[in-house]
Symmetry: D2
Subunit: 281 residues, 4 copies
């Protein structure tokens, strides 16, 4: 994603907790900063791409050493474009805290697996004040194939992303159970998937069906422990609004089961292993 | 479906418990019989398209009046092509009983909603002895756009159909919960579905998402009580093989909830109403 | 149970598929018959104590060899007292078929584990026409410590037994999850059970808590596969009345999981093993 | 509870956010303070009895006006005896923070409904360093009928309380489903409960069975929204240890359902209303 920005002509300063990861970008003309606060100093837009709420909090809000918190180092009128899948609650808090400093805040979580990032086929779900979203649009265009704007309040993009990931995890659970049923009965998984793909005719079904049938859970395109985090976010938002989501609860318990058996670093499609295991396969 | 067969040049005798339904076909050159046994007498292939196990049992196996059971009236060497979604157990029983009479038996459940039948875009999942399947192929081609053969044992087609319907019902449950979450939070359902469709890129998601968002549950394309029947079939087959399917169990309980509230005749996508109701929407 | 009847002065003829099991009773003055039909010939009351619907059907309704079906051998005016945990549907069918022959039918399922039978502390849940229940009362008093009459229709006793067994299985599931939580967190199971017993102050909790904490699942007091059967009966009755029972569904899936891992012959309290296993214990 | 302490001869200063609630105690010789910090100044033991984590945080840790945080006002060597049902995480945090100030911390959550408090029949689950627990013992004896000590780490008492409350809520869910099944089938709830009570022989089952059968959910002995909080605490602790608890998840969804329908202030036994409603009762 950093390369896509550079290739689109943007000037870039990066910070990564594991400095070596950033060093490879130096030869592309990217500056590497020693702290989040240093990275965003003087920037027009600060882009965060982090694993979870805690990481975004640590990077933006918590003072780190003499440099202070990044939010205090970001210029007034600059925008924080947050591409992470974070909670609705944190997104609302960021919107408030940035606004109090005269800064903009745009939520822009991305849909797509690692190869999508490299191939610039990520899809961005954005939300925020229209002028801020517009100012971020060239960046979104550099990063992905499309951006959908969900409204003027940033949390709307986060909740949409969370609900979409819940739909994906639901498909994984359904596939896991269906494949356990047909496989234990003696039907070839591939043959079953042909029918399934003929029906749904969806690249997403085709992709994950293949991963599950071939049990290619390593290396992870999206880690199972992040899958758990996302269903946790769905349940947290649902709790806040008093929306029972029994399927989300089921998925959460299945992910905990997988994690209790050491599968947190596997691809989140390894959710299907739980159904297979429960069936004695 | 009957018309499609006639238009393809096949000679057809039909039987329907509600005779009026069959009468409309007379002007197309279709013969109407007064009993299942009369309908199949002298036939090369007997096609059944019925709602459930009981209806197939009643039509084929149970002696009715002086005409006896249809299975005894069907000529030896003729084939019973059963397009209903029936249980794996009944499919195995039919295979045995037809074989004992020198008859063929092909399971050929169909995928598709009513308009698919009219538009000849049904998709047939077939299984049975290869020569019997081949003899039925012209009929399948007259009825639908494609046929996938799952193997030499008829039950394989039935289990595949059952598992596929479980995948569809799972999608409905997931959509119901996701839409309850985003709607109660204040996000427009249509906007959310745009993102969902952008991601899954599946006509099935598009179709059902629209039905649910617009709450067009009447008239039913596929009745909710039949949706319950199909998840019952999945759980019955899963029980037989000792395969726990918690998502199937969840769906079953949701369908029972809908039926307890008088929604058995609504479209099975009305499953989504349960999630909405539980959320107080 | 047979001994308790003999000791109470009743004349007894027994039949058991495994004849050796009955032979031990001969020295107590019990007659041993070669078939169910022979056993009930000339009897005032036929008592069945069998594992499930199929066994009751086989023993009472299905003609076996030259002796015919037991129901046809049982004298008119005699009573069938059925102590098995059978389905509401079969209980209704038996009531009808016995009535059609002028025979009585009393459902009298028993609560209690094997040692309760020996110690005559079984508890009988009875239902049936009042005069038939009264004629059976001396037998119930010989078998257990108490009998509760649920009404004039036999199925009421069966449904009550089924619902009570669901309550027991629910307790087992709850204990399994609670013990997995506290044990994995490092709290001693016995210490936790002391608190639990102090609160519930129930011999049932004390008994099963001990079995689970000590993992004494063999020999089975009540087999897990019968536990599955009983929750199946609950779900079947619930389906009939359109009553969603998600906790019953959960238990059913857990029992299937246990059975898929070869635990069908263990005590039904081994349900708790599933929660422990899921937690990686 | 305050009266029980006074009657046992202890000197008491109380603080309540709703001052009127405390005023009634003045005539009993109780001092009323204007802030938590003022209430604990000079105390030997600070007892907190609050609804949830946030309330304990607010009362003990958050500085309030000029008086500062109560934790800073509590003398070194004094003990905080926390009788609230709080999270394992907060209990661990309190243990650390009090220890850092040379203060003691004892977790002492109580089991029992409001009348138990008045009748001094509360049961206290305690944990903490043995000498601190001993110093609190006279207070526990003044408050309840018994105290069980779960170990030297305070969180052990909290987790035990959380797991016990999960067992209670599980019983409520099971009762709700069982009563929905038998009631919809036409069996009198009271008659069914007689059998259930005969089997479990537990005052807890008797008490809640009566509440549910008579639908006496107001006034609440323990509010449903607090029941939700407690199952949230169970799931939070379970998540921390990677322990899947599907029954706890089910209960959580049912409580959310009840809350979405405005039942948060009803007794937590109103959980049973959800099962009844789902069945169309």
């Amino acid at each position: 994603m950093a390369l896509n920005l550079v290739h689109a002509g943007h000037e870039l300063t990066v910070y990564n907790r594991t400095r070596e990861r950033a060093d490879g970008l130096v030869k592309e003309g990217v500056r590497v900063a020693g702290s989040p606060a240093a990275a965003v100093r003087g920037a027009e837009v600060a882009i965060t791409m982090l694993a979870n709420d805690q990481a975004v909090r640590d990077a933006m809000l918590v003072p780190a050493g003499e440099t202070g918190a990044a939010i205090d180092s970001l210029p007034s009128r600059a925008i924080h474009m947050c591409t992470s899948t974070i909670s609705v609650a944190l997104s609302k808090e960021l919107a408030e805290r940035h606004a109090a400093r005269g800064q903009g805040y745009v939520a822009a979580p991305v849909l797509g697996r690692p190869d999508s990032a490299a191939q610039k086929t990520l899809w961005i779900i954005a939300a925020g004040p229209p002028d801020h979203v517009e100012r971020c649009r060239p960046l979104m265009e550099a990063l992905g194939r499309a951006a959908t704007v969900m409204g003027e309040e940033a949390w709307r993009a986060n909740l949409t992303k969370i609900a979409v990931n819940f739909m994906l995890a639901s498909m994984l659970e359904a596939m896991g159970e269906a494949l356990a049923l047909v496989s234990k009965s003696g039907i070839d998984a591939q043959r079953f998937l042909e029918v399934l793909n003929g029906l749904f005719n969806s690249p997403v079904y085709a992709n994950y069906g293949k991963i599950i049938a071939e049990q290619r859970f390593e290396p992870a395109g999206f880690k199972l422990r992040l899958g758990l985090k996302d269903v946790d976010l769905a349940l947290e938002a649902a709790h806040e609004s008093a929306v029972p989501m029994p399927l989300a609860s089921l998925i959460r318990d299945r992910y905990l089961n997988a994690i209790a058996h050491g599968r947190g670093e596997a691809d989140w499609a390894a959710l299907a292993e739980v159904a297979a295991h429960d069936a004695g396969l």
